[in-house]
């Protein structure tokens, strides 16, 4: 693991990295209602993930990811931040 201070914002511009965004509480509740799932049913993302560290998200936050998909053009997926 790179040390916290060493995560460079450069990586956000890398081709492989899609756009990440932390949802507000209201948005998160709306997303969960729309999908009809519980937070722990979502795919996870580690708190140690370099992108999560740049976003300064906390465990329990839901992250919206806009993937560039070759089949759908763009697809939006959600991941929940887990503390491990």
């Amino acid at each position: 693991m790179p040390k916290p201070g060493r995560v460079s914002k450069k990586i956000l511009q890398h081709e492989l990295v899609p756009e990440h965004r932390v949802l507000t509480l209201e948005e998160a509740a709306e997303v969960l209602r729309k999908l009809g799932v519980r937070p722990w049913n979502l795919p996870m993302i580690s708190i140690n993930d370099p992108i999560v560290r740049i976003l300064k998200a906390k465990p329990g936050d839901i992250i919206e990811i806009r993937r560039r998909s070759p089949t759908a053009g763009e697809s939006i997926v959600y991941r929940i931040v887990v503390p491990y």
Binding site: P18, H20, E74
Partner: protein, 420 residues
């Protein structure tokens, strides 16, 4: 169908379509609608509706065993792959594992690929500059003193070390005498100077600290010092064994291919395009760029391997594999230590690999089999929860209670009638 309204208008129909359709399909639809001339408004609405209807009809059904379909779709063409390790297409200089061994490596989520490599693109300024590309490639290559040495000589009991450098190797690796002197300074061996007659010979006088008097005639101490000198760092990035420049015949830009991989360090080198750096070490990508980048890398590399063998597998199957591998935020292998091992069912795990161990452990810990998955249901002869099997009929508890009440009333009446 989308909007049940007699006064349908194109805007609201399109708006509904935008929500339902994936973005590039929607964009294509709008473009086509604008392109084709002489369409009436109603015709346009019909076209949009038909598109949406068709799209919904082709969506995957709930309960469809997509995992099994993906496994078959990748597995069948996989049988046609060669087991041989191949050279990378167009690169004769070093081996890169391709074909089935590489595919297995990816889905097994090996910590280190057997042949780590990187593809490094240069940034705008140096893209077409062969000289600059060479310079950057040289800066990448990990070079130790050992790589440019001709010989190290010493006479036991004399305290002097004569280091002879290989001129050709130095030029090839792009190392300078100054680098060597700096390296020696860092080693703190003692006084050193360049030989007056030959600029490629350096004489080192070992200090008292490195070679104490009582060890003056000890060969082992000398060998240790020589090893230390050999391993001294000169330049480059750790893990990058070799860097090769290739000119892309189509675009004419220079691309650096490296043997060995170190994404963390390479991304910080100036002059390279850090947005496009690629490595085949997926764990490294997950560590440096995050789990989503790793997912993309898995997809990219599986497709790369398959298309190199001339196989065409639908990307959706590969996306599913990558999604499952990155589900927990860490990279899991498809196998006993990853995806299958994380299953809760004892029988499903035992059916995969190491049957007895799984069963013993389950018995020892008193595990409970819930029969919620496909594998264990098949073993027990139950209806597997897939396809139509996902639908379960049940009765609400409140309804049962109500039925019982009715029954009680009936019995009460019955008793009364009997008594009467």
């Amino acid at each position: 169908m989308i909007i049940e309204d007699n006064k349908r208008n194109l805007d609201s129909v399109l708006k509904a379509a935008e929500e339902l359709l994936p973005r590039n399909l929607y964009e294509e639809l709008v473009n086509k609608l604008n392109e084709v001339p002489n369409l009436t408004k109603n015709e346009k609405i019909e076209i949009v509706e038909e598109t949406v209807r068709d799209f919904i009809a082709h969506m995957i059904q709930p309960g469809e065993p997509v995992g099994t379909i993906a496994a078959q779709s990748i597995g069948e063409p996989g049988t046609q792959m060669t087991l041989r390790t191949f050279h990378y297409a167009g690169l004769i200089e070093f081996d890169v594992t391709l074909g089935l061994p590489r595919l297995i490596e990816i889905v097994d989520a090996k910590r280190e690929p057997s042949t780590p490599m990187m593809i490094i693109y240069l940034d705008e300024r140096y893209k077409y500059d062969g000289e600059k590309a060479k310079e950057i490639a040289r800066r990448l290559e990990y070079t130790m003193m050992e790589n440019i040495l001709d010989s190290i000589n010493y006479i036991i009991g004399d305290r002097t070390l004569t280091i002879t450098l290989d001129k050709d190797m130095m030029e090839d690796k792009g190392a300078t005498t100054q680098m060597v002197l700096d390296a020696l300074k860092r080693l703190k061996l003692g006084e050193f100077e360049i030989d007056e007659e030959n600029p490629y010979v350096i004489n080192v006088t070992l200090s008292e600290k490195v070679l104490p008097d009582e060890y003056l005639y000890d060969i082992k101490t000398y060998t240790n010092i020589v090893d230390k000198v050999k391993r001294a760092y000169l330049k480059g990035i750790k893990g990058i064994r070799r860097a090769i420049i290739r000119k892309d015949s189509r675009t004419g830009e220079y691309i650096i291919y490296t043997d060995g991989s170190n994404l963390e360090e390479v991304i910080r080198i100036r002059g390279i395009d850090y947005r496009k750096v690629r490595t085949n070490n997926i764990h490294e990508i997950a560590r440096v760029l995050g789990i989503e980048a790793a997912r993309n890398a898995i997809i990219e590399q599986i497709i790369d391997v398959l298309s190199n063998s001339g196989l065409d597998v639908d990307i959706r199957h590969i996306m599913l594999v990558a999604d499952i591998m990155t589900w927990t935020g860490k990279i899991r292998q498809i196998g006993r230590l990853g995806v299958v091992g994380d299953k809760t069912s004892v029988l499903a795990k035992a059916a995969y690999e190491v049957t007895t161990k799984n069963l013993f452990e389950a018995a020892a810990s008193g595990a409970i089999e819930e029969f919620m998955g496909v594998t264990e249901s098949i073993i027990a002869g139950l209806e597997p929860p897939t396809g139509t099997g996902t639908i379960v009929t049940g009765v609400a508890r409140s309804l049962i209670r109500k039925l019982n009440e009715v029954k009680e009333v009936n019995e009460f009446e019955f008793e009364h009638r009997e008594r009467a």
